[in-house]
Amino acid sequence: MWKLLKIELFKIFRRPRTYIAFAAIAAIIFLIQLAFYSDGEAFLQFGMQSLKETFDINGKILSGYMVCFIILQTLLIHVPLLIALVAGDTIAGEANMGTLRLLVTKPISRSQFMWTKFTATVIYTLLLLIFMAVLSLVVSIAVFGTSDLIIMKSDMVVILDNGDILWRYFAAFGFAAVAMITVASLAFLLSVFAENSIGPIVATMSIVILFTILTTMDIPLFNALKPFLFTNHMLNWKGFFEDPVNYKEVFKSLFVLVGHIIVFVFLAIVFSKKKDILS
């Protein structure tokens, strides 16, 4: 399988489209860092107005950790779309190019073929996350330095000690990787049914956007649905920035996401084995 995996990775990283996601992430991160570099203090002061009515806050609020946190908040809404761009193309793209029929006539089982494709997609996702982690955390720390991290929630402020933050980011990025692999596995599943990658990419984006809207809206009618929406659990990387960390909730979400991955991939393999390749 390693040989097949090398071939798949070769194909992914030789394709210009792959680098769109990396470029988009770099651009977004750079813009956010630039914005905070020039106007970050003013933005944070505005955000902390409510708190400053009662408290005097001294020290460096605008730190690399703060900037990274804000980047993660915005990016983890956009990154799923970039993941879908490659994952949705996995099988449908081959069908569209006409190469699928050549690949399936090779002496490898469909299961092995699908596993290899999925593993390559997972590696791509992880590389994208690592790239994001380096740019958002390492570069932010280099530019803005470190300090305690103030996290403003709707009814709570969490202050994390400087020395107690870095491990949380590693855990959060690890969790985010699982969340993004969930999106990738959904796009992978939808890719099996299409012969053009636009379909699964748009379908994945639509599902993620719709579920995200349902997740973030605080409407009683939708609240009953939330525990079942994978997008709700995707946000639980923030659980690592609680004090203390509610490991039960975080691992519950992790379990739900891993469950989604298993189901999506299993269905993708089952349907691909039964599917007649007509492209």
């Binding site: 955000g47 300090s147 709570m156 997740t215 973030t216 609680e242 509610n246």
Partner: protein, 233 residues
């Protein structure tokens, strides 16, 4: 006639005794002030605990700087210190350095098993930021065990002090600031929140609209000199 005379006698006696007693309290306050005046400046290492319903923060190491008469700063190295507005800066010495004030005896009380004299200070200056300060003074060790300060702009706060090895300097081992809170709320859309399954924090009720900040002083460097730049923003 006899009744009128009796009442006049009682009132006169009370007036005279209050003056005598006030003179006693004033002297007590002056003695405490003199003790505190021995400290020109200090740099202290401590641990700060924040106990506020809507703030979650772990205890953190802080450095406290003081320079006579009114310069006071709490800094956290490589981090953020969050302190109740106005109140903390008005520490014991600054209360007593607020200029002329009238000392009004207010009886006695018991704090931590020890008897304390209760003294109210009324600033004579009309524009003083402090409206009223109530001090609970230990006569024996000449230290302030508790103070309740009402300020013009930042409401009322309490300070409770515990003393130990720096008793001779009038510097506490532990100070607890208790202060009023305003409601804290941010729109959810701004904060990108999610349903974590945790029970929501109970909203601040009238019972818990007060917050506490505790500083445990581990060590003091007293009268070693502190540059003014430390107190600048």
């Amino acid at each position: 006639m006899k009744t009128i005379q009796f009442f006049i006698t009682i009132l006169t006696f009370q007036f005279i005794s209050s003056i005598c007693f006030a003179q006693g309290e004033t002297e007590l306050v002056n003695k405490v002030k003199a003790k505190l005046d021995k400290v020109n400046d200090y740099k202290a290492e401590g641990i700060m605990n924040i106990d506020v319903p809507f703030i979650k923060a772990a205890p953190s190491g802080v450095t406290i700087f003081y320079k006579k008469p009114l310069q006071f700063r709490v800094k956290k190295d490589g981090g953020i210190s969050i302190l109740p507005k106005g109140g903390v800066n008005v520490n014991l010495s600054s209360i007593l350095a607020m200029g002329k004030y009238t000392v009004v005896p207010a009886g006695e009380s018991v704090i931590g098993g020890g008897k304390v004299k209760v003294v109210k200070l009324l600033p004579e200056e009309e524009n003083s930021s402090v409206v009223l300060a109530t001090l609970y003074i230990d006569e024996v060790s000449l230290v302030i065990k508790k103070s309740i300060v009402t300020t013009r702009e930042n409401g009322t706060y309490e300070m409770e002090m515990s003393y130990g090895k720096y008793n001779n300097w009038g510097l506490p081992d532990k100070v607890v600031f208790i202060f009023n809170l305003k409601d804290y709320k941010l729109p959810k859309g701004v904060t990108f929140e999610y349903e974590s399954g945790e029970k929501k924090q109970s909203k601040t009720t009238s019972e818990n609209k007060r917050g506490k900040v505790e500083i445990i002083y581990k060590s003091y460097l007293i009268n070693k000199g502190i540059p003014d730049s430390v107190f600048k923003e």
